[in-house]
Symmetry: C2
Subunit: 372 residues, 2 copies
């Protein structure tokens, strides 16, 4: 262990957040995170439901060990009747299924310049699954909400240190979001019990929000009469320009379209090779403020854009398929791009909107293709 890790005042092997130096390559710390927290390979965009093991993962600390038979969810805080529920009790309640696209708030971070050092996402920090569980709102209402309640905090079983702060992962939602009919306590993913890495045996799913809100390995639901001030709420998941800036909270997913890279890849560079024949470019597009209303494709590096054909989403907060024909007639290098806009009027920016924690970078995807 490098001596520079130790912070005498903390006694913990943590360092403050850092931005890469100009031209600084990927660090071993970033590689360590990337080897654990994998992206969805973009060819998996062909699946409406991302198969287990291809859905993106972001795990702050370790995957905690869970014994489903002994798991308890404690619901308390500013309620009249705190309650503790076993998995069997939760499963005996009404059940619903929603197909939801989840995306990491840091997706696109490693494409920023300068690059904030954290989990180094390129563009595959996304996936879509069918989540099944019991709605949260009736549980909150049955517990008797304090009229002064403003937020609901969700605590997982994962424990670690981050920038010198020892913590058990926790995030809150505004009360209105926690009371949405489609916010679930999910124990099932794509029809099977949650895999360990997706929060087994129980997680929150709140459609439309970036992944940091979808608390995994859920053990506590706490109703609050003051806004939550935990690390992940007021420090980590913020849009900010300066370290001292309190910033703006990261909330709902921005619009994004991705394409299945056409042709076949070079192993090392992942640059694509295509034949000089008619291609059908395909992909999916999503937003946390649905629906996606338009997807446009450029095959000339952004000089011109054509509308793609959009298919239906499986559910309100699930991605929509799109396709666009392309027939390159001249050999050479082509830069393909795709961009989405949504019902709120938001559109993907041409380039990244830089912020110092690398949040919400939905700059357009670029796929370089050699046509031969």
């Amino acid at each position: 262990m490098s001596a520079t890790r130790a912070e005498p005042g903390l006694g913990l092997p943590s360092l403050p957040a850092r931005i890469a130096e100009p031209g600084e390559a990927i660090t071993m710390d970033e590689l360590r995170l990337a080897s654990r927290n994998h992206a969805m390979p973009l060819e998996a965009l062909r699946h409406e439901l991302t198969p287990a093991g291809l859905h993106y993962l972001l795990i702050h600390y370790d995957i905690p060990e869970a014994e489903p038979g002994h798991w308890r969810l404690r619901l308390g805080g500013a309620v009249d009747r705190p309650v503790e529920l076993s998995l069997a009790e939760l499963r005996a309640r009404p059940r619903v299924t929603h197909t939801v696209t989840l995306e990491c708030a840091g997706n696109g971070r490693a494409l920023l310049d300068p690059r904030p050092l954290s989990q180094p996402w390129l563009d595959g920090g996304v996936g879509t699954a069918e989540w099944t569980g019991t709605p949260l709102a009736p549980l909150l209402r049955e517990a008797g909400l304090d009229p002064a309640a403003v937020e609901v905090c969700f605590t997982g079983a994962d424990h670690g240190v981050e920038r010198g702060v020892e913590q058990t992962y926790a995030r809150s939602l505004p009360l209105a979001e926690a009371l949405r009919e489609d916010a679930l306590l999910a124990d099932t993913m794509n029809g099977a019990p949650l895999p360990p890495q997706h929060g087994a045996p129980l997680r929150l799913v709140v459609p439309g929000w970036y992944g940091m809100a979808q608390v995994k390995w859920l053990t506590e639901v706490t109703v609050l009469t003051e806004p939550f001030t935990g690390f992940q709420q007021v420090v980590a998941y913020r849009f900010k320009q300066e370290a001292e800036d309190p910033g703006e909270p990261v909330t709902r997913i921005g619009p994004r379209a991705l394409m299945v890279p056409p042709g076949f890849p070079d192993f090392m560079s992942r640059v694509r090779v295509c034949e000089r024949t008619a291609q059908l470019l395909t992909g999916r597009a999503w937003s946390g403020r649905p629906p996606v209303t338009a997807v446009e494709v450029s095959t000339d590096g952004g000089l011109s854009w054509q509308p793609a054909a959009l298919g239906p989403a499986a559910d309100t907060y699930a991605w929509r398929p799109w396709h666009h024909p392309w027939h390159p007639e001249v050999p050479g290098t082509y830069r393909l791009m795709v961009r989405a806009s949504d019902a709120s009027g938001r559109a993907q920016p041409a380039g990244p909107d830089w912020n110092r924690q690398g949040m919400g970078n939905n700059g357009v995807q670029v796929v370089d293709v050699v046509v031969r």
Copy 2:
């Protein structure tokens, strides 16, 4: 796309293999590979069978699109009666299940110095699954092997470019290995249909060999009367010191033990924090020349070693669990290490055995822990 990618003679976006410069950090090409080809998070060593999505993945090109209903396996070459089989026909044959630990031949590559540039594995390129399918040997015998047969070549559906060579992934086995009773054409992993990333709908599983031999998306089995000379056989998966050196083939998995990192991690550095209490260090050990006969643990950076207690393997080529008590009584930084040896007399080397393609680095795992 960088102009340096183009090789005029090839027309393909490939470059020759390269070794990192002294001190050169991780490249974007390596990050791109790491974000697709994920490792098993080491806390998943707690599972005897690695859950879907936590098993390591190495996919040279793209995951090919497979329509199980139309999939055909062609068995031909130096046989009397070439045959083409549907999945239904394969599934109607005798079925067996083996629990097998698979490991990427490049596991440990990014820990080499200097570092060969390729998929940048740290130490998690491993996983264990129950593979179910039909034995290969009876199929070969029924087809009528040419007495001059020396090898069997396996071809997948994945297609790409590698160091300027366009190819469909293919690897061969010596005839005796292909005729082993435990070599399977597998369509089932941990009791479920193969996930796309593990070779759906059909793959080879040949226990004991590194992952490059376990051909996924299997479409052709070809009996050969001369050794196979494809890229993955004679160029890529070789132990060599110089680029021009033909080198030695990569075959069976070397012995390796890994531990579940104790305590909890720092998010960014992954360095561990432990309490000053009794711990039980646990992990698993395996070899392609089983059984693992000994596992030893050091808690002082390799100055001294103690034997760990070894449990039974689920199957001949599955990893064995081990455990070792540890009670750190003085706060400070500890370097934990673990090493295995096997029935063939092979043992993990203290440091990496360097080779220019970064193959088979089974140097001992190092886990740095801050005890407070």
